[in-house]
């Protein structure tokens, strides 16, 4: 199928700013779905609130645009009811890890079979450029005019620590890798996390003098390296991309089916 078969064309052109990385993620996601040969009717997309959340409106899947931070909780109710569906949950960095941090760690802990995509542009874009938990120490934002003193955390480290069974990272520069990782995440049985570093030239880039979209993507290329590479050993500041964890653990919906069997037997 062509790209336009997966989108709701009447809502285009999309509302993201010129140069925003989120359109690249939308593109990679569609390619992943197409290459996996998934039926649009078998895909549910649940998003939260923010620039990232608007992605659901553009896609011709079953789409639910929910509350800020709560997408994974809504998605849990859907997945438990219809385990046969592919549930994709795109979230922004603030959405997934500030207001939604609690739901993120507990969905991962349960190992419920869904794909969390963290579209990390290190800023609250929709409200105009405030710092997010992932902006980083020393950055500038409209709510950090004297520099940000909040320390960030590493999304991959967090996801691994709380039990996600597939954890990966890519960037909008690495479109082919991004697509492959989303494919792997969707195929993985269990809770999958794909962090995608995305650029916000309008707010993060402008405030932190990272330049335009092209320059920000060039910076992503320079500051990343494949996981386990020699370059990382030489330079600890490099951000690793690729697959960090891919393990098997009992999946939540499957386990609950066993609970039902046990309950019916005991009754």
């Amino acid at each position: 199928m062509a790209i336009k078969d997966y989108i709701r064309e009447r809502f285009f052109p999309q509302m993201w700013c010129p140069g925003c990385g989120h359109g690249i993620i939308l593109n990679g996601l569609i390619k992943a779905v197409e290459e996996l040969g998934l039926n649009k009717n078998d895909i549910v997309m649940v998003s939260g609130i923010g620039c990232s959340a608007r992605i659901s409106g553009y896609l011709d899947f079953h789409t639910m645009h929910t509350l800020h931070g709560r997408a994974l909780a809504f998605a849990t109710g859907i997945k438990m009811s219809r385990p046969e569906l592919n549930v994709l949950v795109p979230m922004g960095d603030g959405d997934a890890l500030a207001i939604g941090g609690n739901h993120f760690i507990h969905a991962a802990r349960r190992n419920i079979d869904m794909t969390a995509i963290v579209m990390n542009n290190r800023v609250y874009g929709m409200t105009g450029g405030q710092y997010s938990p992932l902006s980083g120490y020393g950055t500038l934002a409209t709510t950090a005019p004297y520099t940000n003193i909040d320390h960030p955390f590493d999304v991959v480290d967090l996801a691994v620590a709380v039990g996600a069974t597939f954890v990966a990272r890519s960037t909008t520069y690495h479109i082919r890798q991004l697509t492959d990782l989303i494919k792997k995440a969707i195929t993985h049985k269990g809770f999958s996390v794909v962090e995608i570093l995305s650029q916000c030239p309008t707010y993060y880039g402008r405030k932190n003098k990272e330049g335009n979209a092209y320059e920000m993507m060039e910076l992503m290329k320079q500051t990343t390296t494949p996981v386990g590479s020699e370059a990382k050993k030489q330079n600890h500041d490099l951000i690793e991309t690729g697959v960090f964890v891919e393990t098997d653990k009992p999946e939540y919906c499957t386990e609950y089916d066993k609970i039902i069997e046990r309950a019916k037997k005991d009754n």
Binding site: G57, H62, T63, A73, S81, N102, H106
Partner: protein, 383 residues
């Protein structure tokens, strides 16, 4: 052959049995006194029926999960108490806006804040009405004994489906924890309203927010044969966001009218000795039990006294209250708060000066003696 099942149970268990009877398929909750037994019992009962029980990370996640599960075609419920109910308010508004049937039980305890967790209160009446932000309307039901808890819980599920709306069951700690007899009605004895599903065929454009002529909105199980969008933003008949003033106005009107225009169908109440009553108690929940006790004792002595027990608190049945109290010389609202229903009754009746409050706010059940003492004070006779 169906056999009558009689049980000796807590009010919370009556609620659980009724939910199963009504067809509950999915529950998500978080432990909180005094509602916890509902979650515990459903963790046993739901999987026996093929349904699903989830203990979530908090009350916010709980209500979000049931909203998701409802969209896919399940009848759903969550149960909580004051602090948890406060956390649920944003998602409650989402269910109002996206018109998603669900039942939320709030077993009231003393508040504000952590308050008085193991003691009774009826302080959440106005929160249930106005807790979530923005103009909206909502259905709030209550009951005073376990047989009524059962039937009103079934009503709650039915109304959630009928009006595509969240329905709040506002019980209180005394009714929830009191043990008394419950006869579980035979299958078919109580009407059950099932999900109204669209007849639109696969591949044909489905409008999730286009009402039928009778005002009802048929649904298509989310994740099923129709792909559509659901959002908490104002939206058009396809479910896509819109800030067109006509769309915004029309949707808000619809959300309010679908409930306020049906206030008589939604109103549930019980009346005791009202036909010639000069003094009328208006009460609900466990305080109505004490009020009824006083009424029965005084009737035995020939006093013209009666009780109007409200089971629908919102939309407030103002017309019914006005009509039932039209001949009363004295109306006493018996409740365990600072006068939340009192204000509604004062607005409803022709002469608000004859409406008085008999209340207790210390975490103890208001007793018949309390009510008698307050009556004497109202009558100027001293305690």
């Amino acid at each position: 052959m169906n056999e009558k099942i009689i049980k000796f149970v807590q009010g919370n268990e009556a609620c659980v049995e009724a939910a199963i009877y009504a067809g509950l398929g999915f529950f998500a909750g978080y432990p909180i006194t005094p509602s916890t037994e509902i979650a515990e019992l459903l963790s046993v009962r739901l999987p026996q029926t093929g349904g699903k029980f989830l203990q979530m990370e908090d009350e916010i996640a709980s209500i979000c999960a049931i909203i998701g599960a409802s969209l896919t075609g399940n009848k759903v419920m969550t149960a909580t108490s004051g602090p948890g109910f406060s956390l649920m308010q944003e998602a409650l508004g989402y269910a109002v806006m996206a018109e998603i049937p669900c039942v939320i039980v709030n077993v009231q305890r003393g508040g504000p804040s952590t308050g008085n967790p193991t003691h009774v209160s009826q302080g959440d009446i106005n929160q249930a009405r106005w807790g979530t932000h923005g103009d909206h309307s909502i259905i709030v039901l209550t009951a005073s004994n376990h047989q009524d808890v059962f039937s009103i819980t079934v009503d709650a599920f039915n109304m959630a489906e009928m009006y595509r709306t969240p329905v709040i069951l506002l019980f209180d700690e005394v009714v929830a924890h009191l043990r008394e007899g419950l006869t579980i009605p035979e299958k078919g004895a109580l009407d059950i309203v099932d999900r109204l599903k669209t007849s639109v065929k696969r591949g044909v454009d489905f409008h999730p927010y286009l009402p039928r002529e009778d005002g009802r909105l048929p649904m298509s199980d989310f994740g099923g044969i129709h792909r559509y969008n659901v959002t908490g933003l104002f939206h058009d008949m396809w479910g896509f966001p819109s800030s067109d003033p006509k769309v915004v106005h029309g949707l808000l009107r619809h959300l309010v009218d679908k409930i306020e225009n049906n206030v008589y169908d939604i109103s549930r109440y019980k009346e005791y000795f009202l036909e010639d009553a000069r003094t009328i108690f208006v009460s609900y929940g466990s305080s109505a039990r004490s009020a009824l006790h006083v009424v029965k004792n005084r009737r035995a002595r020939g006093e013209r006294i009666g009780l109007l027990e409200l089971q629908t608190l919102w939309p407030f049945p103002a017309g019914i209250v006005r009509e039932k109290c039209s001949e009363a010389q004295c109306i006493i609202v018996v409740e365990m708060n600072m006068g939340q229903v009192l204000q509604q009754v004062k607005t409803a009746v022709d002469n608000p000066d004859k409406v008085f409050l008999a209340n207790r706010i210390d975490g103890e059940l208001i007793t018949p003696t309390d009510i008698r003492n307050i009556m004497r004070l109202i009558q100027g006779r001293g305690v």
